[in-house]
């Protein structure tokens, strides 16, 4: 497991060096839908799981005044955009860990887990392990998953989307792990809002 974690970390350290990779942030795009579904309130704790550039977590902080903790397999200073770095230095926490490794799960649960465009990047055998971890660590988990192959991996010669399945596959799979409170097929992306365990 450690070897795969290191391989994945290196891959994303490399890809985040390309500025264009962080230009579009699915997490940032999904914040309004997360807020609508979750009914989150200022001060609620949220884990931006697989935060990447941190734009999603940043919007959760800026637009909804949530108490954001960032988590990613890469270190914060190599992936976060400047404003998110500032947030980490002044207010927010950052956890560096692979999501499928349960060592990062804190004793106190987060109210929400916010996990956008992460699942498709994981090796398939780690996806359910990761969701199970999130359901253990959070009262509610919001998942946004891309259902298409990536176009950016060619830049580093490795595919980025390792687990590409349609909405129904994900729906059946995540339903095995916990209660799905909301599920939406957004054509090329899937959204699931789940109750924590």
């Amino acid at each position: 497991m450690e070897k795969i974690s290191e391989t994945e970390r290196q891959k994303y350290s490399e890809i985040w060096q390309y500025e264009s990779y962080s230009e579009f942030s699915p997490g940032h795009e999904m914040v309004p839908m997360f807020a609508e579904i979750s009914g989150c309130k200022p001060g609620d704790t949220v884990l931006d799981a697989g935060c990447g550039s941190g734009k999603g977590g940043l919007a959760l902080n800026n637009d909804h005044n949530l108490d954001v903790t960032f988590l990613d397999i890469c270190s914060w200073n190599e992936i976060l955009v400047p404003e998110a770095r500032k947030l980490v230095m002044t207010k927010s926490k950052f956890i560096q860990a692979p999501l499928w490794d349960s060592s990062w799960i804190p004793e106190k649960k987060f109210k929400y887990g916010f996990c956008c465009d992460v699942m498709e990047h994981l090796p398939t055998e780690y996806t359910m392990l990761t969701i199970a971890n999130l359901l253990r660590a959070c009262d509610h988990v919001f998942l946004h998953i891309a259902n298409f192959h990536d176009g950016f991996g060619v830049v580093i010669g490795k595919p980025l989307h390792l687990t590409v399945f349609p909405f129904l596959w994900w729906k059946i799979a995540v339903s095995e792990l916990g209660e799905v409170l909301d599920s939406r097929d957004l054509i090329n992306n899937s959204v699931f809002y789940m109750k924590g365990n």
Binding site: S20, E23, F24, S25, H28, E29, P32, M33, G151, P166, F167, L168, K171, V180, D182, S183, R184, D185, L186, I187, N188, N189
Partner: protein, 389 residues
């Protein structure tokens, strides 16, 4: 799959299309950095690859000017595939009536001026109004179905499969041998409404079942489960339909007839849904739904859009239509007269519009001797008789 592969020239708008400005509100431009619509860019890149040998043109234009369009093209990294950047026109003088986007809802686009005084159009409009279920009911149905977490229909690669689409018209009975011939030669069956049960009675298995009707009685059409059958239900279908089919392979599509319905669906899916064009009845909608799913070869059975001379409206008993025969009129198509209800006339009229605008997208064979078959066979148009009945 490229959504634009059949387009010869594409004009792409900039703001809200090629790029998005995060946090924009109507009339207020956020000062942040724009985001590129990567999905659109990918489609355009594939389209360009496919059309590289042709004279196909890709134009990017913006109401904010040519420079703004050039900026967006640079940002999107598609300078190499764009032919020209332009300022968007404020006035367009053209003898044509507009652009058609086959992925968006298309209302009948024929210039009404041609027929605005005609009896035909009045009849069509009157029938369309009668077809409408109260909008509150439709809205409630939509709000219910979208929350069921069902997959939506989405674009698929074109395929060469032949589909037999079954309307419930009386000619189903007279063309049954032709249907069997297609079925046993590998064509897949697409049932709508009561033809689902009719097929099962004939020991034939539908591959697709489609419904658009928002009324509650339609649940009776789908009582029996057919493993392997895909159920394509409009989001406006009644909750009892979804309840009856729980656990089956249901896919949603959206008929969208009002701005209110559009807003509900757009908000819920963050604008991520397939627009389906079409008309007032499920078969008119099916052409576009099936085309989206990659099909283009259709045999139509029982799609008569008329009664028999004796007043028979369906190939099977359908109590909901028993009053149809009380309010009929004769219409002429070419040199033949057909006995029609209002909704038959409306359907035939809209069918003409569909064929006129999109006929090149489908390969259609219409079986039987009904009004639609006659229209196709003789290229004839509808005319309403001056004297009723």
């Amino acid at each position: 799959m490229n959504a634009y592969q059949y387009e010869k020239s594409i004009y792409v708008d900039v703001d809200g299309c090629l790029i998005f400005w995060p946090g924009d509100k109507p009339g207020v431009r956020n000062e942040g950095k724009p985001l590129v619509n990567i999905e659109l860019v990918e489609h355009l890149q594939i389209w360009r690859k496919e059309t590289v040998e042709s004279d196909a043109q890709l134009v990017v234009w913006s109401a904010n000017g040519k420079e703004h369009a050039e900026m967006a093209v640079k940002l999107a990294g598609i300078e190499d595939i764009v032919d020209v950047c332009l300022t968007k026109p404020t006035t367009l003088i053209d003898d044509n009536h507009g652009w058609i986007d086959s992925r968006k809802k298309v209302k009948p686009t024929r210039q009404k001026k041609d027929v605005e005084d005609s009896k035909l159009l009045k009849l069509v409009e009157s029938a369309d109004r009668k077809l409408t279920v109260p909008n509150d009911d439709i809205v409630n149905n939509i709000k219910h179905s979208i929350k069921l977490g069902l997959p939506q229909i989405k674009q698929h690669d074109p395929n060469t499969e032949t589909l037999c689409i079954l309307g419930g018209g009386a000619s189903l009975l007279t063309t049954f041998d032709e249907l069997k011939h297609e079925y046993y030669n590998g064509a897949k069956l697409v049932a709508v409404n009561g033809t689902y049960n009719w097929l099962l009675e004939k020991n034939m298995k539908p591959s697709i079942m489609a419904m658009v009707d928002a009324q509650d009685y339609t649940a009776k059409y789908i009582k029996e489960d057919v493993p392997g059958c895909r159920y394509l239900f409009a989001s406006q279908c009644h909750p009892s339909v979804f309840e009856a089919c729980e656990g089956r392979d249901i896919h949603l599509w959206h008929a969208i007839n009002t701005e209110e319905e559009l807003k509900i669906i757009k908000d819920y899916y963050m604008n991520k849904f397939a627009y389906t064009a079409g008309g007032s009845t499920v078969i008119l909608r099916l052409f576009f739904i099936l085309e989206l799913l990659g099909f283009s070869k259709f045999h139509l059975f029982g799609f008569d859009s008329c009664l028999t001379d004796e007043g028979q409206h369906h190939a099977y008993t359908q109590d909901e239509n028993y009053r149809d025969a009380e309010n009929t009129r004769w219409v002429t198509c070419g040199n033949k007269k057909f006995l029609c209800t209002g909704w038959h006339i409306s359907q035939a009229y809209h069918f003409q519009e569909v064929i006129r605008e999109f006929g090149n997208k489908f390969d259609l064979i219409v079986h039987g001797e009904g009004l639609i078959a006659h229209m196709i066979k003789y290229g004839a148009e509808l005319q309403v008789e001056e004297d009723d009945k």
